[in-house]
Symmetry: C2
């Protein structure tokens, strides 16, 4: 987004954990600040330097160390690109339990360091459950070997690896991970529904869970504003139009299944389809007939963020809100912009899309220009609004430099105090990714 | 097991978190040590006092605070018995994502405090993934409210709740949990296979995963020694005999499926059955025809621990070992007992059973008497053996008083040092569950 830029003079690309450890030791002895950098795809300024930090780039640390096809446990270095890790696993009949839009450039170490969520959390759960172990270079340069080939281990004492998951490089640098990978589904289906209201989306979600049960692998939502942007600015242009004009609704739900028996999966999906139509919960629906159609349907959802960015200057917020009320946040933001008489002027539109299955909303306010005036009408209002719904101001994008000042909207003073004590315990010199995360 | 007994004079049963907080504040101000106690079903002396600690009993803190049927998020107090929590969820069409033999008396707070594993980890994953939030009374008496109604939240900063999961009451007392509960399967099947070798068990496991895919909910193993004990000492006696003499093998595998479509599930199971028979991977197999038969098959596996205890004085170890080598640990322990010429004498037998799907072995050495001599022939040998296989000496039972001295067999000096610093950060006075966990 071009929001953050430092003036670092040094970028180091170690090839081994030992080399990386030597660099960190050197920095520690001389009080040199470090910013670890993976694929540099973050949206909150977590991996960019703020001043002149030394940039520690993980790209050359990219070997698969081992894979066990009986247990499904992969041990691999931090710098492997997510898509490459998944391709390696695909060749063995397994799947990486995480998928996200940036998969072609983000790295698995960065995914773990930011506790990335993505498209299939609904099915495979959070990295906090699937990551079994980590290798970390601590702020003083020591190598902490917490890799594990075990699914269950209660001699961990305190589960230290959990402190590093999502810590955004503030207390150590993740150099390798062990992760439990599920079998790759042999049968995949994708359907897109046009839905008459958000209340109907909730019912579609509920029916989908009931009919598809264990084969449901994603449930995504986007609104008509997002869809219009995709048809206007997305890679496929108007080719992305799926429904006739009369069947286009205010909301769209994308459903994916991943199972082990194609016939069984189609039967379950057909039965869902019939229920949704007969209960008038959808205006229309399409079921992809092959992999290329499935890819095209997914593209509509995946292009929402870039299409909205192309539609103007987009202020982007990544919120967790209880799913029943999720869309109210978009409506209330739109009301605020309307009350300022900005809609159609300074603000082109307000849109919402996201991982409905996880209560994760991506709210976009598309302005004609980035300005102090617009930003101060949105923030901290959006954070207060989220707090009002007992939500979180960062569902999956992390804190970074952007949201570090706002942590008190979702965390209590007691929590923040404990976190500061932890940061001090691990990194007393404060050299690890400073000016971010926990200030 | 009657191994641990303190001489506490005071047991307190607070009815609210606030009352509990008042008690802890009182103790903190006066340096009084506390042992938190849930269902008191642990096997490692984690919830029994060692000296005269005040016992803080959670039983009266047992309300369901909320349940959201859209997201499946349950918020409930720590003292609810696991089976009661699951019954409550069953009435809503949901399932608690944890099940274990002690479900009739263990409490959900204790389950989380010990990071319990149990019978369906294979399907629903670890509590580290499903627990979304906690309410904890800290060692100084403050209430830390980390409950969450959100599936995704990356403003947590460091994920403090993870420090409390599995911390065995050493840095705070869990008073309530928020947990993500899956839909309850509407169709359940249970099958038991008699298997000619451990090598065949591994192949059965692999075929089972391939055929059953997403509906597999448990894969358990027990050896003939365990099965003989069940037929001799278990609740059902010889009624537990399932196979003809000629089909009884050295190993048994129990498979459970949980799905949303009974017809689809049976088809998948039949196809597995055919493959296993045609590839001669099993000697025989039975498929439960109704819920009562399913219950009886489960009983064989669930009675293994008590039946082996009834067969003599059983030394019990809960080990995590890579699944390919899991049974070698049993064989090597047996060889050691044979080399001492004890088998049939001081030692009746050596048996193994467990959660094969998770690489979790329960090793039992059944002696005629508990004695220093037998114990010192087993320990620390069993811990060294486990370390040799890169295993863990406590897969799911925790450290407690029993294994706290042996943590260095599976954790590095750097890890132990970090844990001691954490303990000191949270509990500088050392009043929380002393003499256990991290010494």
């Amino acid at each position: 987004m071009g929001k953050y830029a430092g003036k670092s003079q040094v970028l180091v690309k170690p090839k081994t954990t030992k080399e990386l450890s030597t660099v960190v030791t050197w920095c520690h002895d001389r009080n040199v600040a470090i910013v670890p950098q993976g694929g540099n795809t973050g949206l909150v300024g977590g991996s960019t330097p703020i001043h002149d930090e030394l940039i520690l780039c993980l790209s050359n640390l990219n070997a698969v160390r081992s894979f066990d096809p009986v247990s499904g446990i992969l041990t691999a270095e931090a710098g492997i690109i997510l898509e490459q890790a998944d391709s390696f696993l695909a060749s063995k009949g397994f799947i990486f339990p995480l998928d996200l839009g940036a998969k072609g450039s983000c790295q698995i170490g960065g995914n773990v360091a930011t506790n990335a969520g993505g498209l299939r959390l609904l099915r495979y759960g959070s990295l906090r459950g699937s990551v079994l172990g980590l290798e970390v270079v601590l702020p003083d340069g020591r190598i902490w070997n917490g890799l594990s080939g075990l699914r269950k281990d209660n001699t961990a004492g305190y589960d230290l690896k959990q402190l590093f998951i999502g810590s955004e490089g503030s207390i150590g640098i993740i150099t390798a991970i062990s992760i439990l990978c599920p079998r790759r589904p042999t049968s995949t289906n994708v359907a897109l529904f046009s839905v008459p209201s958000y209340a109907a989306c909730l019912k579609v979600f509920s029916q989908t869970k009931a009919h598809l049960g264990e084969i449901l692998s994603a449930f995504e939502m986007f609104d008509a504003t997002s869809y219009e942007a995709v048809k206007k600015h997305g890679g496929g242009g108007t080719g992305r139009k799926v429904f006739g004009d009369e069947s286009e609704g205010p909301f769209y739900c994308l459903v994916e299944t991943g199972g082990s028996n194609a016939e069984h999966d189609s039967e379950k999906l057909s039965s869902l389809f019939e229920t949704l139509l007969s209960d008038s919960l959808i205006l229309d629906g399409v079921l992809a007939q092959d992999a290329s159609q499935a890819h095209n349907l997914w593209q509509i959802r995946e292009e929402c963020p870039s299409a909205l960015s192309a539609a103007g200057k987009a202020y982007k917020y990544d919120l967790s809100v209880p799913v029943e009320k999720m869309y109210e946040v978009v409506e209330r933001m739109k009301e605020r912009m309307e009350s300022l008489a900005w809609v159609g002027g300074k603000v082109r539109d307000v849109a919402g899309f996201g991982h409905m299955g996880d209560g994760n909303l991506h709210l976009n306010v598309v302005a004609t220009e980035f300005s102090e005036e617009v930003q101060s009408a949105i923030e901290p209002f959006v954070y207060q609004l989220t707090a009002e719904y007992n939500g979180s101001i960062s569902a999956e994008h992390g804190l970074g430099a952007m949201k570090a000042p706002y942590i008190s909207y979702s965390q209590s003073p007691a929590s923040i105090e404990l976190m500061k004590r932890l940061k001090k315990t691990f990194d007393p010199k404060g050299i690890m990714n400073p000016y971010k995360f926990i200030l």
